[in-house]
Each structure stands twice: as structure tokens, then as C-alpha cells.
């Protein structure tokens, strides 16, 4: 008994690992489809936007071939779509329809561990899927650079933040339809003003300031830094992504605790 009391602390690796092992067991049943679409999507985008636009309207942006500009930008879109959306819908379904969290919380796992494990799983997965557009862009002619080895790390912290955002939203909304508002009001605008498809310098000044607060824009700039050369300001960008992940982690834990514990 005493052993159990001293062993069970906050944020236990065994509890987090247990919850992640559930995600892994489920992932093994659907990874083929998810991985296929994650690989195909950047190829289609690069063919349509990159080759199509660069052949007719835009040849290069800031000295970078447009295909490579879009390809590096698409890392951010891959990250948000493989973190925020699965976090929102996955969390909602597991809580409201499958009662999965009731089963997990009846075991020696608390809400903080549950949310941390879900965020970590989504973050790790998105950090891998986030690299796919970069790999595809390399196949389209982008030269590999040592800095690119850091891209999974940049993707991880961005994805952790957006996973936290998605989990918090799942705890807040009353019905699954309300995710339409979240997508229209937050996800799509963040994605469009990230600088993935065009430089934000072309936006009105007010929107440029807003774009600087957009974590996806920071990720886009970091990935381009990794491909074309870092700047000192990239340290600030990376720190802001770490802070984004930490803040959204606490928000997600807080919201889910309010939702799951009566």
C-alpha cells in the first residue's frame, strides 16, 4: 500500500505511456490511409500550386523558386491539419461517443496525464507527417540542408500547441457541429495568413502584425530558415513556439478537467 502511495505521483511516465500505447494500438489499424493522404496531399499541392502557378504567374519569391517556397510552407499546413483537427474531433468522439476517457480515468491516470499523453501522441505523429512536404519538395528539387534535421522539433512544439488548442475546443463545444465555427474562425485564417503560400509582407500592415502572432507563421519561417539559412530571430521564433505549446497544454488540462470531472 505504501509503495503504491509513494509511486503514484503527477505526470507519471507509466500513465502517459499507457495512454499513448492505446493510441498506438488504434493507429496500427488506420495508419496506411492517414500516411497515404499525408504523402499524396503535398504532391498534389506542389503540382497544382507550385508547378501550375510558377509556370504562369509567379516564378520565385524572395529569390526562392515558388515550388520550394510553397513546399517549405506546406510543412505548417501539414502540422495544423494533423494536430488541431484530430485533437478536436478525436477528443470529442472519445469523450462523448466512445466513453474512452471514462475507462481510462477509472484506472490510476489523472486528467493531466491523459491530456499530456494525447497531446504528446498527436505532437509526435504531426512532427513526422509535417516532414512529408519537405521530403516531397526535396524530390521536386530543394537541396537538403543540415538545418532540416531540426524541422521535426519545430513541428513537434507547434503540433503540441495546436493539439492543446484542439483538445481545449473539444472540451468547450457542446456539439460536434460547432467545430465548423472553430475551423472557420481560427484554423482556416491561421493557415491562410501563415505565409505558406505567399509572403505576409504582401498583407496590409495590421494583418502583418496579426500574422506575427500566428504560431504557424513562426513555423513557416523556421522551416524556411532550416532550408535556406537561419537568422538570430529564429531563436525567438522557436521560443515562442515552446511558450505556445506550454500555455495551450495548461489550457487543455484545465478545460478537460472541468469537462471530465463532475
Amino acid at each position: 500500500m505504501t509503495e503504491a502511495r509513494t509511486r503514484l505521483r503527477r505526470l507519471e511516465p507509466a500513465a502517459i505511456g499507457g495512454v499513448m500505447s492505446r493510441e498506438l494500438a488504434n493507429f496500427r489499424t488506420y495508419w496506411r490511409g492517414t500516411t497515404f493522404s499525408s504523402l499524396l496531399e503535398p504532391i498534389v499541392y506542389l503540382l497544382a500550386f507550385g508547378l501550375g502557378l510558377s509556370a504562369t504567374l509567379v516564378d520565385e519569391v524572395n529569390g526562392v523558386p515558388y515550388v520550394q517556397f510553397v513546399g517549405t510552407g506546406m510543412v505548417a499546413t501539414a502540422v495544423i491539419f494533423s494536430s488541431a483537427l484530430p485533437a478536436m474531433f478525436g477528443t470529442f468522439v472519445k469523450h462523448r461517443f466512445q466513453n474512452t476517457y471514462d475507462a481510462i480515468l477509472a484506472a490510476p491516470v489523472d486528467v493531466e496525464e491523459l491530456v499530456s499523453a494525447e497531446m504528446l501522441w498527436i505532437g509526435l505523429r504531426a512532427s513526422i507527417y509535417g516532414c512529408f512536404p519537405l521530403l516531397v519538395t526535396i524530390a521536386f528539387g530543394l537541396d537538403p540542408a543540415p538545418g532540416m534535421l531540426l524541422v521535426p522539433l519545430f513541428c513537434l512544439f507547434t503540433a503540441l500547441g495546436f493539439a492543446g488548442f484542439g483538445i481545449a475546443m473539444a472540451a468547450i463545444v457542446a456539439k460536434i457541429d460547432q467545430f465548423n465555427y472553430v475551423t472557420a474562425l481560427f484554423v482556416t485564417p491561421l493557415f491562410l495568413v501563415s505565409g505558406a503560400f505567399f509572403p505576409i509582407s504582401g498583407l496590409p500592415e495590421g494583418l502583418q502584425i496579426v500574422a506575427q502572432l500566428n504560431p504557424l507563421h513562426q513555423l513557416v519561417e523556421l522551416v524556411r530558415g532550416a532550408a535556406f539559412g537561419f537568422d538570430w530571430v529564429d531563436l525567438v521564433r522557436f521560443s515562442s513556439l515552446v511558450a505556445f505549446a506550454l500555455v495551450l497544454w495548461r489550457v487543455a488540462v484545465n478545460r478537460m478537467a472541468a469537462r471530465l470531472i463532475d
Binding site: S21, N26, Y30, T100, A106, A107, L260, I261
Partner: protein, 296 residues
């Protein structure tokens, strides 16, 4: 030491008083049936014990751990079988079990999974997805998932609700197996037969509190006497029978197409019609008299 001790526990959901000053002791090694109609507070009591609901007042202890402060340590030693099937349907039987073995920090996950598969008689289906199992197999899997860490205390929340009689019998056999090992069981149910068949003691709950408790035979003797007489007749005559029986102090309850006169062995001549069917008093009589609800 009692496995579960609740003292004056209160739980409100807004204006609704779900648990109203509940006192409940569950000694180690017994199966206590929490019998009550829907909304009596049984599931809320279960959630209070797993830390998924926080009390507004009162004291709770499970296996010597203060709740909710020490809930995590208590949960490590208790198993929970939920009312609703929340298995991962695309995942294999053995992976469903292995995940919970890890969540419960079982040192030898493989051995625990094997043990659970043996108990559920699912060894041959271990690599099948849950979706491919029959209803009875799924229910047995859900049951043994809650026992994967060999808990000292098991909470069964309406373990057979909505199941057909065949599957219910399979689950009862598993509960019998648990009882024979000396595991403490707290089982909520609104099935009289289930409580009568499985529980060493029954606590009847209504409106968030225990209104009577004892061994089934004791409860029957205390509240219903030895005998009940059932009268089958058209509604108008049933109304007359009820008036006559109540006039001499007998308790009468509806029983489907009949009325049941409880304690008919103590009745004066004429209070019980000659064509009444006399039978031994049952826990169902007690339940209906105490809660005013129709039994299931």
C-alpha cells in the same frame, strides 16, 4: 477494515441532489448489491469512488485511501466494469487488454493478458478485432479488462444492463468466480434477480440515500413477511381487492396484470380473496414497497 466507507456524502448537480448524505460501509470480501431505480444515485456513487465526481460534502475512503485526495492510489487497487461498452472496437482483443495492463502498471503484461483471456474464455479470439466478437464475448472482454490487475475491490456498474438472458448468465458466472476468490464487490443494479442471485447483502437506494440494507432474506422478512398473495382479475375487481386489503393494514402493490398483497400470511379472514395465488415473499416485493417503483 471496510473496503469502502462513505459518511454523509452529498453530491449535487446544479439543483439536483444526486447523493443525499449517503452512509455506506462495504466490508472486505463481500458482494454488496446497490439496488435502486434509475436516478437513485447508484452511478454517481460509483463515480465518486473512482474520483470522476467530487463530493460536495462528506467523507469517502476506499481500501484505506482518502478520496478524492488519494484517489489515484485507490484506483490502482480497484477494478471498474462500466455500464457501457467502451472497448476499442478496431483493436485486437489482446491489445485492448494490454493497454489496460499498462495503465494499471502490471509488471508482466503478457501474463496478465493470458490470465484475462483464460478467464473470459477468449484465448482463441485473442488476435481478432473486437468488432468481430459476439455480444457475449465483448461483454466478457469488458468484464475481464477491469480485472486485468487482479484488484482487491471491483466496482460493477449495472454489469448486465440491456443484455439478453444468455449473456447475463455468462457475466453472472464471472461474478461468481470473483466472489469465490474473496474479492470485494460493489455492484449497482436495478435488476432484482441479479441482486438476489449474487449479493451477500443488498442496500436499497432511493433519492440518493440507502433506505434499507441487509441480507436478501433479512430484508424480505423485515419488510414483506413470509408470504405474498397475487390476485389476477379485471381492473375494477383489483381496485376492490386493494381497498379491502389496505383497510385491514396490509400493503398492496401493483404486479403487472395483478395486485400483490404483501404479508398475506398475517391477514384476517376475508382480506385475501380465495382465488389469490399465494407465494413466498420476494426481494421484488421489498423493492417495490420501499421505492414505489415497478421492478425489472
Amino acid at each position: 477494515m471496510a473496503a469502502i466507507e462513505l459518511r454523509g456524502v452529498v453530491k449535487r448537480f446544479g439543483p439536483i441532489l444526486a447523493v443525499d448524505g449517503l452512509d455506506l460501509d462495504v466490508p472486505e470480501g463481500i458482494c454488496l448489491g446497490l439496488l435502486g431505480p434509475n436516478g437513485a444515485g447508484k452511478s454517481t456513487t460509483m463515480r465518486l469512488l473512482t474520483g470522476q465526481a467530487l463530493p460536495d460534502a462528506g467523507e469517502l475512503r476506499a481500501l484505506g485511501h482518502e478520496l478524492p485526495a488519494d484517489s489515484k492510489a485507490a484506483r490502482a487497487e480497484m477494478g471498474v466494469v462500466p455500464q457501457l461498452d467502451n472497448l476499442d472496437v478496431d483493436v485486437t482483443v489482446e491489445d485492448n487488454l494490454a493497454v489496460f495492463a499498462r495503465l494499471y502498471r502490471v509488471p508482466d503484461v503478457g501474463a496478465a493478458v493470458d490470465r484475462a483471456l483464460d478467464l473470459a474464455r477468449l484465448q482463441a479470439r485473442r488476435r481478432d478485432a473486437v468488432d468481430e466478437l459476439s455480444g457475449g464475448m465483448r461483454r466478457r472482454l469488458l468484464f475481464v479488462r477491469g480485472l486485468i490487475h487482479e484488484p482487491r475491490l471491483v466496482l460493477l456498474d449495472e454489469p448486465t444492463v440491456g443484455l439478453d438472458p444468455q449473456i447475463r448468465t455468462q457475466i453472472w458466472a464471472l461474478i461468481d468466480e470473483l466472489r469465490s476468490r474473496g474479492t470485494t464487490i460493489l455492484m449497482s443494479t436495478h435488476y432484482i434477480e441479479e441482486a438476489e442471485r449474487l449479493a451477500d447483502e443488498v442496500a436499497v437506494m432511493a433519492s440518493g440515500k440507502v433506505i434499507s440494507r441487509g441480507r436478501p432474506a433479512e430484508l424480505i422478512a423485515e419488510h414483506a413477511g413470509r408470504e405474498t398473495a397475487e390476485v389476477y382479475a379485471p381492473p375494477q375487481r383489483l381496485a376492490e381487492v386493494r381497498v379491502r386489503a389496505e383497510a385491514v393494514g396490509l400493503r398492496v402493490r401493483p404486479a403487472g396484470p395483478a395486485v400483490a398483497i404483501v404479508g398475506s400470511d398475517r391477514a384476517e379472514d376475508g382480506a385475501v380473496p380465495a382465488d389469490a395465488v399465494r407465494r413466498a415473499a420476494s426481494l421484488e416485493d421489498v423493492f417495490v414497497l420501499l421505492t414505489g417503483e415497478e421492478a425489472e
